[in-house]
Amino acid sequence: MKRTGKTIVRSLKHGILGLYGLFSLFPLLLIVLTSLKKKKDALSNPPTFIFKPTLENYTGDVFNMDVLHAILNSLIIALAATTIAILLGIFCSYALSRLRYKGKTLTQGVILSLRLIPPISLVIPYFIIFSKLDMLDRYPSMILMYLTICLPLIVWMMKSFYDETPVELDEAAKIDGCTQFQTLRHVLLPAIAPGIFASAALTFIVMWNDFMFALYITGSHTRTLPVEIYNSIGYYALDWGKMSAMAVVAIIPAILFIAVAQKYIVKGLTMGAVKG
């Protein structure tokens, strides 16, 4: 009797979690399915899961020059900001993790406080500054703005990877005659390479997903994919299939990232405060 009770509880627990998993995938499933529907199927009432799939939403009609341009812009801006932040972070995080010096706490505090600033509080001054300098709708201004998000994320995440690498490695390298820079380059960097990759990937996704900065600072030249999607909501109105096809493309990087680097996500999102 007791055993059957246990089995029921066990399957109940699995059931609840399984349901939660399904629930999490539901929106994703919805856009993938809807993107394969003809217009009349997409708007069937009540919503249906049975229909004849079509690829007509994935043609040049939806993925016109504007959308392709937006995808390219998203890639360029996110990649550039991530690369710059990684290059800066490699050295800054190294110093924060390994060296002892005056002003370290202050440095950490200043970088961390960037995380406190509401993005909208930056958008207003940026908009005025960039319009005065005639820099609205240019790549450099977008990349600069995104550094406010990337830098704290990368510096703190990479610091935690340095922190986890044993100091004995540095010491051994020193005994072998490496200079500090050589130690960093030939010993530490290879050791934290997966961490660098994970930090870069996470930062890339955050940039790729950003909507607010792009909404106010980009124009026709630098418009990114999320803004293009938002603008199309009104244009396509009830043409959900076309919208969904765009949305499916927008979520590809995130899905790839989850598949490849999920074990680093907790650490990244808490900037090293919690080990995953």
Partner: protein
């Protein structure tokens, strides 16, 4: 272990980052403070200096006060619910009845809503789920004999609709953090408590919660901070409407600046918003620390 190094070298490692942080973070905020002292209109040629008038006006503006109260209360409710739901699911995922492979699969799957662009998720909710004519919500209600529901009208429906989506989107983050915390509890401790005859509620109260406390604090602070700053979801789903019932501070600042072109006033609101976030987070940290000691 850590040794002293020539100063030149150390600053060589950090100054480029510091310089950029000052350029992209500190300068705009200071500029914002400066602009907030002017009657700065995008549309007019003259921008007269008006001192603190923007701030005084804001504090007497019902719409601003509403946005501030709404921002803080929405963030508090959302974060608290996320923490409670997150705690339950983290516990389930950690439960020894659950096969490790199953638990790990669910932990991967649940990341999807969290990592996907909020604009995309908001679009899906706005149309395929919440749409009054063609969405799943209304179809479901009709199927059980209830009338279709327009979630974008009325005073309470819109914020609740956003709240539900926000919880769906952000709870995975809390679950992951709490799960990571749970894995640090030594198994011997749990076994010992079981031998001593402690039931599940006692174990939760006397072992799990005390050990999990610092991790819960991290989860709460991160989530709370981000919930205060929320923009994308609100902008796509309700855009502050109907009227300005769901207008939070981010949307308020944006509409003052970009819809009405009151850049001076928007800057003042942006500065107050930043101070509010810093103040609330500082206060929370202090309260939590005091509790820890007490």
């Amino acid at each position: 272990m850590l040794e002293k190094h020539p100063r030149r070298l150390i600053y060589g490692y950090t100054w480029p980052t510091i310089a950029i942080v000052i350029l992209v973070g500190v300068v705009p905020i200071l500029f914002s403070v400066f602009i907030s002292l002017f009657n700065y209109e995008l549309t007019s040629a003259e921008q007269p200096f008006i001192g603190l008038k923007n701030y005084i006006d804001l504090l007497g503006d019902k719409r601003f006060i509403h946005a501030a109260v709404f921002t803080v209360s929405f963030a508090l409710v959302a974060t608290t619910l996320e923490l409670i739901i997150g705690f339950i699911f983290a516990g389930l995922l950690y439960d020894k009845d659950i096969k490790p492979k199953f638990s790990s699969a669910i932990r991967t799957i649940m990341l999807v809503p969290y990592m996907v662009a909020p604009v995309v998720i908001s679009y899906i909710f706005k149309t395929m789920i919440y749409d009054v004519n063609f969405g799943f919500l209304s179809a479901g209600l009709k199927a059980i004999g209830l009338p279709a529901l327009n979630v974008f009208s009325g005073q309470w429906n819109p914020p609740i609709a956003v709240l539900i989506m926000e919880i769906f989107l952000r709870t995975p983050f809390v679950i992951l953090i709490l799960y990571a915390g749970l894995t640090t509890i030594p198994p011997q401790l749990m076994e010992a408590s079981m031998i001593d005859g402690a039931g599940t509620p006692q174990r939760i109260r006397h072992i799990i919660i005390p050990i999990l406390k610092p991790v819960m604090l991290v989860a709460f602070l991160f989530r709370f901070m981000d919930a205060l700053k929320m923009f994308d979801e609100m902008y796509v789903l309700t855009r502050g409407g109907p009227g300005y019932t769901t207008e939070n501070l981010s949307l308020f600042v944006a509409s003052q600046g970009f819809e009405f072109s009151h850049m001076g006033r928007a800057s003042a609101a942006a500065v107050l918003f930043f101070l509010l976030v810093a103040l609330v987070c500082g206060l929370l940290l202090k309260i939590f620390n005091q509790k820890e000691e007490g």
